[in-house]
Every structure is written in structure tokens, then in C-alpha cells.
């Protein structure tokens, strides 16, 4: 186990090095003059030159690369060309906002998906199984941006149950502003006892979280069902059934435990799916998180911010997969 952990950790470091190198050379080959982008449209030639020296762009590429890695190790990702603030600072401010959505979505997708999958497998061939099958087929087939728009149209425009977009109602921004302590608005409002804002934020979060949940929910449910059905055909289940263990225990305890390994892999992969979905969901619901930031960076070719965002998403993805590998090994001792 220790050797395995060490190996995985070494692999993780290697991947991160590759990732940062790729991101560096990718952003350096982007179209457009970075220094000109930095000073803005109407700048004079000498101002652009000054910015070039300031950003270190006059040095050879390999020196720039060395400098970039050094700074990266110190947690410095450079200055955003768009907001003119350190990218790290921008990211630290935006990440908690998105993480609130992502964590809820992941939680609902994982628990709901496993539950739906087990229910479908338990009632295999029945009407309930059919219904779940149709639902999950639809869930994996609907494009995220279209689903988000449908939610807005139906729950805001037709029913009027939930707000259209944003994080907090405008009048509450003035009467009960959110104090920034952890960056997670739900936590912050609870700590400060700001319950009006708490419920308002929660109310604003329902639709974006639902939009983020649906795709991974379908994937996880389908996989859980098929993995579980595979396991339930094995001899040891037959033996257990013959010895009189109840069906319910069979499915949830003996079956699910052995079906869990592929399910955990997919849950790890859904982290990336949800993170990428935030690009769309945050744009549509005007949620000021990392997806919104990334999108603005794409639109304005803000290469330092793009570098930071892709590094961050890549890192989260790689780490989630590693983490899931470790958990799988703990859950399933057969994996070598």
C-alpha cells in the first residue's frame, strides 16, 4: 500500500509537470501580442515595449519557462491581462464560489446516481426499471446548456418558483451583504448569522446545482445498475441467497460493495465533467465563479488567466482520479 501510494504520488507529480509545461507552451503560442493585450487597445509603441520588459517577454523562451516554473512553485501565476490583478488572487476568490455549486452537484449526482442505479437493478425488468432507464437515458443525452435554459424557462418564466440568475437578490446585497470569511457564501452567512442572505443564496443555488447534477447523475446511475447486475450473477451471491440472506442486504451490502469500484472511477471522472459544465452553467445563471472567469478569459484571450484556469482544472482532474484510485484500493482489496 505504501509503495502504491508512493508510485501514485510520483505519477501525479510527473503529470503535473507535464501539464504545466504543456500549458506554458500552449499559451505562448496563442495568437496576438501579449504585451499589447496587457496595456490595452490605444497604447503607444513605447508603452507596449515597457510592458514587454515588465512581463519578462523580451527574454528567450527557455528563460521565460524557467522563470514561470519558479514562480509557479511559489504560487505565483502572473498577472491577469484582463483584470490586472494576480491570477492566483482572482482564482482564490472565484474557486469557493464554484466549489459550492460543484460540491453540491457532486454529492447529489453520486448519492442519487447510486441510489437510482441500485433501485433499477433491484427491480430489474419491472416498470420502475423502465422508468429509471428512460430518465437516465434522457439525462445523459441532454446538452448541459440546453437543460440550464429549460430550467430557467420553466421554473422562472412559467412557474416563477426560482430566481432567474445571480447569487443574491439586489436589495439583500445592500441590506444583508455577505461577509467574506471562507469564500463559501453558505458557510459565511451561517457563521455571521445572516439567515436572510443564507436562504436567499440557497434559493439561488437550486437551479444551477440541478443543471450541474443531471448529466453525472445519469452516468453514475446507468453504470451502477449494469455493474451491480454483473455482480449479482456471480456464484457467491447465489450461495448467499441460498443461505437465506435477505435480498435487500444482498443488493446493498454484498452486491454494491463489489460493484463499487467502476462506480468510484466514474465519480472521479464526473468531477471534471462538472467543472467543465460550470463554464456553461455559470454563464447562463450569471454566477460569479471560476467558469464565468474562464469564459471571460477565453473571450478576451487573457492568456495568464487561461493558464491559471487550465492548470487548476487539470490539477483537480488528475488529483480526483488519483484520489479515486486510492479509495478504490481501500474499498476493493482485489485490485493490484
Amino acid at each position: 500500500m505504501l509503495l502504491f501510494l508512493f508510485k501514485r504520488f510520483a505519477g501525479l507529480i510527473a503529470l503535473l509537470v507535464v501539464l504545466s509545461t504543456l500549458v506554458f507552451f500552449f499559451t505562448r503560442s496563442l495568437p496576438g501580442d501579449v504585451a499589447a493585450l496587457y496595456v490595452g487597445g490605444t497604447a503607444k509603441a513605447e508603452e507596449i515595449e515597457r510592458a514587454r520588459v515588465e512581463l519578462g517577454l523580451d527574454k528567450p523562451l527557455i528563460v521565460q519557462y524557467k522563470c514561470y516554473i519558479q514562480k509557479l512553485l511559489q504560487g505565483d501565476m502572473g498577472i491577469s491581462l484582463r483584470t490586472h490583478r494576480p491570477v492566483m488572487q482572482d482564482l482564490m476568490e472565484k474557486i469557493p464560489m464554484s466549489m459550492e455549486l460543484v460540491c453540491w452537484a457532486l454529492l447529489f449526482a453520486a448519492s442519487g446516481g447510486v441510489l437510482l442505479g441500485v433501485t433499477a437493478a433491484y427491480h430489474q425488468g419491472s416498470l420502475l426499471d423502465e422508468v429509471i432507464k428512460w430518465f437516465t437515458s434522457a439525462a445523459v443525452s441532454i446538452p448541459i446548456f440546453f437543460f440550464a435554459l429549460l430550467l430557467q424557462l420553466f421554473f422562472f418564466n412559467v412557474l416563477g418558483w426560482f430566481p432567474l440568475q445571480g447569487r443574491l437578490d439586489t436589495f439583500l446585497e445592500f441590506s444583508n451583504p455577505i461577509e467574506n470569511i471562507t469564500g463559501f457564501s453558505l458557510v459565511d452567512t451561517i457563521i455571521t448569522g445572516n439567515f436572510a442572505a443564507f436562504f436567499n443564496v440557497a434559493w439561488h443555488m437550486v437551479l444551477p446545482v440541478a443543471a450541474l447534477t443531471i448529466g453525472p447523475l445519469g452516468i453514475i446511475a446507468r453504470l451502477t445498475r449494469s455493474a451491480l447486475l454483473d455482480v449479482m450473477q456471480q456464484d457467491y451471491i447465489l450461495a448467499a441467497r441460498a443461505s437465506g440472506i435477505s435480498e435487500w442486504v444482498l443488493f446493498f451490502y454484498y452486491g454494491l460493495r463489489n460493484a463499487l469500484s467502476p462506480v468510484l472511477t466514474v465519480i472521479g471522472l464526473s468531477v471534471a465533467l462538472i467543472l467543465l459544465s460550470t463554464f456553461y452553467v455559470e454563464m447562463i445563471f450569471n454566477w460569479p465563479g471560476i467558469g464565468y472567469y474562464a469564459l471571460a478569459a477565453i473571450m478576451s484571450l487573457d492568456y495568464t488567466a487561461l493558464m491559471g484556469v487550465s492548470l487548476m482544472i487539470g490539477t483537480v482532474y488528475v488529483m480526483a482520479n488519483t484520489l479515486m484510485d486510492i479509495v478504490r484500493r481501500i474499498v476493493d482489496p482485489r485490485i493490484k
Binding site: 503529470l15 443525452s141 440546453f146 424557462l153 487561461l306 482532474y317
Partner: protein
Amino acid sequence: MELQAESYEQMAKQVVKEHRQVKWFLLGQLLKRKAAMLSLIILVLTVTAALFAPWVAPYPDQGMGAVNISQRLSPPSNEHLLGTDIYGRDMLSRVICGARISIFGGMFIVVTAAFIGVPLGLWAGYNEGKSGAVIIKVVELFLSFPATLIAMAITILFGAGWSTALIALVIPWWPWYTRLVQGEVLSIKQMLYVEAARMLGYGKIYIIFRHLLPNVITPVIVMILLDLGPAIIAIGLLSFLGLGTQPPMADWGLMVWEGAQNILSEWWIAIVPGCAMFIVVTAFNIFGDALKDILTPGRSSG
């Protein structure tokens, strides 16, 4: 001797007969699945409509991007069955023309990815030497980063456009085929007939194409079918961000983006292409699932 020859002939006939029966069996299985048949009908209709778009669409020039400003933002009516968009273009024509990029683009991505990925997978699975190891390392590298993010990065780098978007999606897509085929080959090559072929002195290339390829073709076909839906969504994801097809060309993802601007008043502009996408992707997924059940029974689906 004669008797033996006759029995061989009979055996051969029996094999051919069984082979035919297998074909009928597949068709029968497919006919039994109503959802899959319905999906197939929908797919045949949409693909035909997309193929003959200039003749099927009521206003083909508007479908290609011609502006008709006097009719802008008109709701669904007899004249424009699905309404018109912000430039007055007929939505039905736009959706039919958009099907070309979405559906044929999706097919292009998946088939190209298979054409790149399958030979590499065969090679990597059969040769466990250096070249195979290098292929597997490259595949693992690609699979360790989210595919959509790679595609986005490539389109940003090389400039947005539908052709760039398609190529940008092929690049992170082929490794999945390599990994699938490599895994299959690792188990197939243990088989006695492969060993026998090797013993008889047949070359690598011959064994790969004669003995390995036919045995991996079924899972590859199933994967191609199951990937068509996700490929169509992936194209939509890029063009929704403005990284794929550029206006005034029609593309479902782009059309949803155009409609998202006035979703609350002129809802049909976003809903029509979105529904088209949803229906076609669902149909591909259900059909793919059914074929997977029939062609590779007893395999866990992912």
C-alpha cells in the same frame, strides 16, 4: 474418402446456415426492441433530411444564412412552422441545415478517431516492446486530461471554426479507441489460433489484420455507435462558446447560444435547436445501447 468429403460439405453448409441464422437473429432482436426501432426511424429521417437539406428545407437560402429582416422574431406559424430567429430566418430550415454539421460532424469525429485509434491499439496490444509502450504512454497522457478542455485549448490556439473544432475533438478522442483495442488484443492474442498462426510463420501484419482485427471489430463498432451522441454534444459545447461553427452558418449549439439571448421572450429560438439536439442524441444513445446488448451480450456497459 467420399463420405468424409460429403460430411465436410455438410458441415460447411451447416456453418453457412447458422451464420445466416445469426444475421436473422440480430435483426429479430432489433425488431423486438421498440425503443431502438423508433430511434432508428428517427435517425434515418434526420440523416436523410440532413443529406438533402437544400431540397427538404422550406427556405434553403435562409438555412444557409440569408437574412430576412422583415420577418424577425416571429413566433411559430403556418408560414414558419417553428418560428424565425433574430434575423428573420426560418428556424425549421436552420435546424435542418444545422443537422449537417452536428450529425455528419459527429460521425466524422468518431470514425476518424476510430481510424487513428484502432491500428495504434492493435499495434500496441500485439507488440509489448518499446513502440507499444510509447503508444500506451501517449494514450494515458491524453486520458489524464479532460477531453473537452483539450479541444477548447486547440480551438483557441488555431482559431475558431467548424473544421478546427472537428479536428480539435478528434485529437483527444482517438486514445479511447486505442485503449479499448489494446485491452481486447491483450486477451485475444493468448488464443491458440493466434499462437498457431505465429508458429506457422505468418508475419505480424498478417496476424494483426487476419486474426486480431476481425475479433475487435464488434466492440469498436459498438463504441462508435455509443460515441456518436457524445460527439454531437461535444460539437455543440464548442460552438455554444463560439469556438466552433461561426455565424451565419447554422449549427445547433450556436443556434441555442443565439436563442439564449432572448430566451424569456422568444423561447423557440433556443428551444427548437436544443430539442433537435436532445432528440437526435437520445436516439443515437438508445440505438447504440440496444446494439450493444445484442452484439456484445454479458459485457458490463459503461
